[in-house]
């Protein structure tokens, strides 16, 4: 199971990134869990200073931008 984490305080772009991640995972048909990490202290533990950010299985894959579902698919495979 892939663990997808959206790092962000909850702004519209963070929500869009979460949507894109869900679309990507569903289209790939993979098992996944999606967690929204909204507390700044928790986000900082990833070494991330700009949101939104995306982590997959604990590894940060993107920072400071909304990556598309297609891009996330590549990250998931």
């Amino acid at each position: 199971m892939k663990k997808i984490q959206i790092l962000g305080t909850g702004c519209p772009k963070c929500k869009k990134l979460a949507e894109n991640a869900q679309v990507a995972a569903r289209e790939l048909g993979i098992e996944y869990s999606l967690e929204k990490v909204t507390k700044i202290d928790e986000i900082m533990k990833f070494g991330v200073m700009m949101t939104p950010a995306l982590a997959i299985d604990g590894q940060v894959k993107s920072v400071g931008k909304v990556v598309s579902a297609d891009e996330i698919k590549k990250m998931l495979t």
Binding site: C11, I40, G47, V48, M49, M50, T51, V60, V63, G64
Partner: protein, 123 residues
């Protein structure tokens, strides 16, 4: 960390210091902290680059500007960044501004001198 209002804006200026064991290492470290406190940029963990920590690597890729402060001519910050694939950064080496390893006390005057030079080089 960006607030909701400026989420996804350009990345910050990141400051990496060698923070080495010598006097000039301490000056580089304290100058980086001063620059952070003064709002010039944000000191970031060079060890995270060496360790290839994903969050730190990705954040650095997204930085608007990178400032590297090396205490001595071994240029550990410069080499560390380059080996990690970062080639575009402003580099300040303390020997170039007259601060010699072993003969440069980490006092407020020297720290301010480095901070000022870093600002000049960054602009």
């Amino acid at each position: 960390m960006c607030a909701q209002s400026d989420c996804c804006s350009g990345g910050p200026t990141l400051i990496f210091a060698c923070s080495g064991a010598a006097d000039v290492g301490e000056i580089s470290d304290r100058a980086a902290r001063k620059l952070t406190k003064d709002g010039i940029g944000k000191m970031f963990c060079l060890a995270g680059i060496g360790g290839r920590i994903s969050g730190i690597m990705k954040t650095t890729e997204f930085a608007e500007k990178i400032l590297a402060i090396d205490g001595c001519p071994l240029n550990c910050v410069k080499n560390c960044l380059e080996q990690a694939g970062f080639n575009k950064f402003v580099h300040l080496q303390l020997a170039d501004i007259g601060l010699e390893k072993g003969n440069s006390p980490p006092n407020e005057r020297n720290i301010a001198k480095v901070a000022q030079k870093a600002i000049e080089k960054s602009n």
